[in-house]
């Protein structure tokens, strides 16, 4: 059975892609968040717009913030979003 990776999108990443998230076949433990973003960017125009400037993106893997060069490892949930603006 192929492992799945749940991807969640927030704020303008969600709006540009046009969905809250999706499940994909896990691309592999050795794939980094940045490499996955590059793969996702090829999925269509909304994705290309959302991921045009990776330096503006932040990520959380299994609900912990990670840098974009982090490897997916055995992670099951990846969230992609702009820098946070709470408080």
């Amino acid at each position: 059975m192929t492992a799945q990776l749940d991807i969640l999108y927030f704020a303008w990443v969600r709006e540009r892609i046009g969905k809250d998230g999706e499940s994909i076949a896990h691309p592999g433990a050795e794939v980094s968040v940045a490499e996955l973003i590059a793969l996702l960017a090829a999925r269509g125009e909304g994705y290309a717009q959302a991921f045009a400037q990776p330096e503006r993106l932040r990520a959380a893997l299994d609900q912990h913030f990670v840098p974009l060069d982090a490897l997916l490892g055995s992670g099951r949930e990846l969230a992609l979003f702009p820098p946070v603006t709470g408080g």
Binding site: L8, F10, A11, W12, A60, Q63, F65, E77, A79, F81, P82, P83, V84, T85, G86, G87
Partner: protein, 148 residues
Amino acid sequence: MSLVSITVGEADFDPASLLAQLEGLGGGAVASFTGIVRGGDGLVAMRLDHYPAMTEAQIARIVEDAQARWPLLGVIVVHRVGELHPGERIVFVGTASAHRGAALEACAFLIDWLKTSAPFWKKERFADGRATWVEARAEDDATRDRWG
């Protein structure tokens, strides 16, 4: 065992009752910060989105960091989400400790970290119909980083 209370939701809160809880913990000092939606520039409303599965756990990690640095008797954090209008309360951070230094410093630490390291995003809606996501500010990161 100190009090830790973290609430994320749409409901408003009563700062007086939150402060009373902290005052009842036996310390000599209670400090708090209340954030209010700032009006001006034609702002009609803002909407706060968050990452429900992560938000409370991430705030709990920030509170643990504060507890490791200061001897706290209690921490209360309330962060609202959803649609908010100018003048409405958006966030509350309250701390109780034996002495004022710990209470004041921990309160400032908590709001600085909440602003920069908890998964919330604000979208502002203006009278002329524009709606824009708030950009993160580098000075907020610098303010957080002064804590080392």
